[in-house]
Symmetry: C2
Subunit: 189 residues, 2 copies
């Protein structure tokens, strides 16, 4: 590979992330990605394959980055949820990328599945050990924890407008409190 | 108006809903909507205005339909959440429309704001009366209730794949249990 190949690839990856985050899969334009990266269109196909493959790689990379930044901790899920919230707030493009993927790319990604399997297994064991609430199956608990972490990201623009200036800027404490209620073993249950 | 004008308008509204739900705002094509409705493109502009206006009307209409189908009940929010879950499952296009709107149309809708304001006010009063948990401000409680109702709709395809056949088909009971934990007043809190 020429010496600048890695550098071109990195610039293309950054450009793809910005483009897909803004416009989604269908709305993204490969020539705009090339332009943003100051590269040519052919180098995208050479390094990443099709637009769909580039999209999948972009989403997977952002999720690997997220998982690395916020390791799962089954012994303190509320604190994990708070950290996940904080990290997602600082990288809003991850939420947009995964939202587009949900609408436009209905298929699982290997790396993401591995990361979920780890969480599901750890939760199942913790439920078995009696240290996590058992009302929900492990995968549902994961889905609900993420739903609470992203509840304001998913909130419609109308609800945001109604909340207005009453809304606290940092909702990390809200997330931690709600997740604690969800996962704490109810006495006598 | 000619006798078939109302009928044409209804067909166009149905076609718009199918098209926007599938492709979103940017991805939708006005000529495909006209084709689906067996009408001409000009009749869309005549009845609904621009593509953006038609999108806003489509989203607003689906939310009015949802609000009419599932009246809010501040005295039994878990049961409300269960009914909302069931109704959203039977009309998956509503979830898709609101997801596209969140990504592509960052502005509040009047009818939706009115509907949220009603819920927020009712929750504020119920919190004041001591019958609802007060850890979260009313708008955050609304956001979190909806997040729990839609937690599996928002779940990535990877998490769905991991859940696999273990996943219960009907998650209404999960939603009701989780929402009950969220809104119930904690003794001594």
């Amino acid at each position: 590979m020429p010496p600048d190949s890695t550098e071109t690839k990195r610039r293309l990856a950054d450009a793809a992330r910005a483009e897909f985050s803004e416009f989604g899969l269908a709305g993204a334009r490969v020539d705009r990605i090339a332009e943003r990266a100051n590269a040519n269109k052919r180098s995208i196909y050479m390094h990443f394959g099709t637009k769909e493959e580039l999209f999948d790689l972009t989403v997977a990379a952002s999720l690997v980055e997220l998982a690395d930044a916020v390791p799962f901790d089954v012994r303190d899920i509320p604190a994990y949820a708070g950290r996940l919230y904080r990290t997602l707030q600082s990288s809003p493009d991850i939420f947009r990328l995964t939202s587009w993927a949900l609408l436009e790319r209905p298929r699982p990604l290997d790396t993401e599945m591995a990361s979920y399997r780890e969480k599901v297994d750890a939760i199942r064991e913790a439920q078995h050990d009696g240290i996590l609430a058992t009302e929900h199956d492990p995968a549902t608990l994961v889905a609900m924890i993420i739903a609470l972490v992203t509840s304001w990201d998913h909130a419609s623009w109308s609800l945001r407008a109604v909340a207005g200036t009453d809304a606290p800027e940092n909702r990390q404490a809200d997330v931690e409190v709600a997740v604690r209620k969800l996962v704490t073993v109810t006495p006598g249950a």
